[in-house]
Symmetry: C2
């Protein structure tokens, strides 16, 4: 069974790859498509790393061969970069999504097509709790492009061209590694950097409310997305994923409880208006009953997310005290 992951060399892509290899130990052929190659699976004959540019139709055609059973389309220009580079965002977040759907449409059997959307499709005047019938009103180019991608995946599914599943991911925290150009990059940074012994800048005020998922939960939910029977989804292929509703202030308090005041002292507040405008436009609370009924799950609390990050990053107990 051939599974393609675009953005396959990225943070989520690699973790999803590991999870899929574990789920289908024998039958899988995994193609990790990205702008860069990854040698994370170099020894694994089930995995192929392909360098490609999904803005090029020829590259997309080469990826999506007739034996493709599942396409995980994770590649994207993140929110901060899409705001700074409008045309690039349109090309990757909209045009490349359409090119992948078009290539999928030409297959002998409609593949499962899992598209990662985002809470960034929401904005403007929002109800206290976002529900399934809440209208999208993106206040960022990233959100607008993802919202159009959602419509494409739903329409291509309605027409039977693909068997689509759109998951609206919460903001993921704590991402390991370096900051990226997502407006939400600080949501990991204010936890990760202090724990790693480094200073962190928080560009928004403490009362900004976020909707969060740990990386592990995001991967479990991404994995689950391709396993749900099509008939359970019906005509609405878009799912608001479960998350934790916490404010920036609550995140920092939790960090203090888990790791101590000397860790939290490494966080400095320095307002960034662009980041604050974008992140504040996102909803901080969802009703995700439909997702729960479909078998998706959320994290228990933010303390467990911090502990999960520490365990993974500093595997020995002594090293965990930064």
């Amino acid at each position: 069974m051939k599974i393609i992951i675009t953005g396959g060399a990225g943070f989520l892509g690699q973790r999803l790859a590991k999870r899929l290899l574990q789920h289908y130990p024998d039958s899988i052929r995994l193609l990790l498509a990205d702008r860069v190659t990854t040698d994370a699976f170099a020894a694994d004959r089930r995995v192929q790393s392909v360098v490609c540019d999904i803005a090029q139709n020829a590259d997309v055609e080469r990826l999506v061969t007739p034996d493709t059973a599942v396409v995980y389309h994770l590649a994207a220009i993140v929110s901060g970069q899409a705001e700074a580079e409008f045309d690039l965002g349109m090309t990757i977040n909209l045009d490349a999504t359409r090119a992948l759907l078009e290539a999928s449409r030409r297959l002998p059997a409609p593949p499962k097509f899992v598209f990662t959307s985002s809470l960034a499709v929401f904005g403007g005047e929002l109800p206290a709790t976002v529900t399934d019938p809440t209208a999208v009103r993106p206040q960022s180019s990233y959100g607008a492009q993802k919202a159009m991608g959602e419509l494409l995946v739903n329409e291509y599914s309605r027409r039977g061209f693909v068997d689509g599943r759109v998951v609206r991911l919460p903001t993921i925290s704590v991402r390991p590694g370096k900051p990226n150009r997502a407006a939400s990059s600080f949501v990991s940074g204010i936890i990760r950097e202090p724990l790693n012994g480094e200073p962190a800048v928080c560009p928004v005020t403490r009362n900004v409310r976020l909707w969060l998922s740990s990386p592990a939960t995001a991967i479990e939910n991404l994995m689950h997305a391709h396993l749900i029977p099509a008939q359970s989804l019906g005509t609405n292929r878009t799912i608001n994923l479960p998350g934790l509703s916490v404010t920036v202030g609550e995140m920092i308090e939790t960090l203090e409880q888990v790791a101590g005041p000397e860790i939290v002292a490494r966080i400095r507040f320095e307002r960034d208006e662009v980041v604050e405008r974008i992140v504040s436009s996102w909803p901080g609370r969802f009703d995700t009953a439909r997702a729960a009924a479909l078998g998706f799950r959320g994290d228990q609390d933010f303390a467990s997310i911090i502990r999960g990050y520490r365990q993974e990053t500093f595997p020995t107990p002594s090293a965990s005290h930064a």
Copy 2:
């Protein structure tokens, strides 16, 4: 002041042109862009009819010259045809809309950009009354393409590339002339054909509820759309226009009251599943308080719509008794 109307040789385009000429008698330069030419304004030096293909970027670039103040983008592949010819619908309803927005973006000052969307963006499980925060869930290719166009116009407005206004038109009845490939074509046909002494086919059951606007009201609202100050619209450039909520049965009863049973006897019911599926997916009732506050208006009742059509089509009292 240069105003462009795409679909300018069409039914709404020509009426809007007349209305704009009346509103700006001296200062206007009106460009009617369409696949076909129109000689309706041949004697009027303020009007230019341009044959063009808005699927061709070069044609779009030629239309949108630096002196453009307003773009009315009415051209579209209608619902029935977009369902039958998916790729053509994508090209005209999505790609050409984007090309017009891109050409507008390159102007020295952002033009007003009026985009006609449709109640067809809605579908699936709907509340009894659609409100501004109701999520779009198109159940037709036309609806999906219009919903993406709405997102584009909102995003291009947010970025300051255009000053956009998206009006979601009700189904228009009674359109004069011939049937077209809209799934809703019968909504005019079941009134127009009997009054014209011809047989009509109704492809849906009597209890299907529709959301209607007369042509005259649609034109007044289209006209009004470019006059609203941008600050009144805020960040949400999409407006559900006022309409009349009536069932097919009520339309036919009203026709009988206005024109007599011998007229209504010309209507035959013959179910068309594709048409019924598409038209039944559309909402039949809206809360349009925001539109009313912005100065848009609706029709009084369906009887006045029928009378309006008769007066226009059969101007002398004797001829009105078909």
